[in-house]
Symmetry: C2
DNA sequence: CGCATGTCTGACACCGGTGTCATAATGTCG
DNA sequence: CGACATTATGACACCGGTGTCAGACATGCG
């Protein structure tokens, strides 16, 4: 298997390598006949351009980096799969870069990543999409980036989100419709803008239905299963016990379910439980969790799509997109 | 921020770019004084070599591809994290490539991946690490690869595995020690060599303890939660009901638990359940699943480590490594 | 001291593409 | 038909490194 380069194609087709390059990039000013001839040679020799050489000449790597710091494996794989879809479509590759928001020297870490990998752009997933520090750094370095699932408005960044507040509003309303009025709430990680959004949706639904907000019913979590277990302990001890718990994500909701079951409570007869995210665990446990499904793949896909657009034409406007979240009712919530 | 290239370093240091290149690659035949001088300029100018240019000159991409087709998100992220660790250590990057073993034209898909991305090597995770077709293709193309978690012996491939048979043996023995003798078994996906290994460990433990193997107690699964639910239905209907179920992975075990709970059975009082893999779900549900923990990250890390060794020196021997799996006892198994 | 050997260094081509510019071929129009 | 614009093509430098080779210089040894 000898290598097929642009030179061999040019020689074989009897044209210069520049002309081959033109055909390759669909540039104008190639006569139809020549174009045909070269394309035929591509087929015949089974030629694939070398992305590394092309990258060197164009000062591009055709690689996009994906930053994340998220304990949810399912969230990460969904992000990856959406990002990959968009990347493949445009012949880009995806570099995954898990790292810690609060780790030592985040900026240095990213700077190192950028200089050693020469990425063409960066997709930021929460909590990075909410990090002002990081975003300012990227702007200063004029690195292209896209923000996924951040509630922070900023027309100078590409941003694709889903409506977390609306989702939280709907799921709370669902509980209220089932007759619940003492609904406990478990917050997410303070570094994520989704945390505030979901909390706000919860409060708005209460207000809308004239239920007084009770701070005693709100526990601090951080999206981890463990934190959910801690919050569950507090909540289940409140007297009188709340008749429903809405946790800011499914892992914490699963923890509430586990603790409730351990305490001999029946779900949903004794207590209703709702989550957020529609993680796999939501349907793998019994009873299945009522939750909000977000289009994570689609969000990331669109974010990367926009990012690639931006890379190829920096003049393009930075799009803001909001997608819908959807309520999914399972067995963990029921009439009071 | 102007670019710092090897040329600017050379000029600034007053040497030729070849000498700079020598220092960069720790080549011999550079006088200590010159080396010092160049190194100082590296610092001063904050120089980082361009991996793309280097890749072009050396015909290398410094990218390793990771192939997987696995429904378990936690498995995938563990694989990724082990692979990333090894890659970063050696300044390689990781390209993830989910694809389907039984999909149309696997070989074509991989061939396309290889020609468009110019990968330096491939890490194969199950079921790819067991695919004879793929491995023969890679050998023919002389692509470096490493196999993770395959039971198939082959001294001509790098291979890192854990002892699945031993793990299955131990967990079965654990159930036997608790007094169980009617132990149902749910098989994994037939494309994975682990499936046969775990089945074999189960049978060996029965034989060792003089318990007759009963084919009626064995159900076919494919590692998915859904297949576990199907098998669970069959198993729970067997008369008399088995007193324990050993599922080939935790997702299927979780499905058994869900169905048992729905049928008003108490776990572990009425029936013991054991899984395999120590997936997050094993500790997120109640009761927690007794299972076998495999060093997935470590396996992948070592596989990539060996792969990179192989890439830099093709003469090196292809190592075979077997790591230990560990029994983790939780609440889902108890005395009969 | 002369010659062989070993160490250090740089000139130059090359990896496989792309950008710039000059030039040839073709078309347009008064 | 000639002047001029437009299209088509290739020569050549360049991206930022690495490999090859030749030459300068130092050292060892008979």
């Amino acid at each position: 298997m000898k290598k097929v380069t642009i030179n061999s194609v040019a020689e074989y087709a009897g044209v210069s390598k520049k002309t081959v390059s033109r055909v390759l990039n669909n540039e104008p000013n190639v006569s139809p006949a020549t174009r045909e001839k070269v394309l035929k040679v591509f087929k015949e020799l089974d030629y694939t351009p070398n992305p590394i050489a092309r990258g060197l000449a164009r000062n591009r790597s055709f690689i996009i980096g994906c930053l994340y710091d998220n304990p949810s494996k399912s969230y990460i794989t969904r992000v990856q799969s959406g990002a990959l879809e968009a990347c493949h479509k445009h012949n880009y590759n995806l570099l995954i870069h898990p790292c810690e928001l609060r780790g030592e020297a985040l900026i240095e870490n990213i700077e190192h990543l950028l200089t050693t990998s020469r990425l063409d752009g960066l997709v930021l997933t929460p909590p990075f999409s909410d990090s002002q520090e990081l975003i300012e750094f990227l702007k200063k370095k004029s690195i292209n980036y896209a923000r996924v699932a951040s509630a922070i408005e900023d027309e100078t960044s590409i941003s694709v989100r889903s409506n977390d507040e609306q989702g939280a509003f709907e799921i709370t309303e669902h509980l209220i419709a089932l007759g619940h009025s003492r609904i406990a709430f478990i917050k997410g990680h303070p570094d994520h803008s989704a945390t505030e959004q979901r909390f706000s949706g919860y409060k708005k639904a209460l207000a809308e239905h004239n239920i007084a907000y009770d701070a005693e019913l709100v526990a601090e979590g951080n999206f981890s299963y463990h934190s959910g277990a801690d919050s569950a302990k507090e909540i289940l001890d409140i007297q009188p016990r709340p008749s429903a718990v809405f946790a800011s994500n499914d892992y914490m909701a699963a923890a509430v379910l586990k603790l409730a079951t351990q305490s001999k409570l029946n779900v949903p007869e004794d207590i209703s439980i709702a989550g957020f995210d529609n993680a796999p665990i939501a349907r793998h446990i019994w009873p299945g969790l009522t939750t909000i499904a977000q289009p994570v793949e689609e969000m990331t896909r669109q974010a990367v799509e926009q990012l690639i657009l931006q890379i190829s034409d920096p003049e393009v406007e930075k799009t803001q997109i909001t997608l819908e979240a959807k309520l999914i009712v399972r067995e963990s919530t029921a009439n009071i």
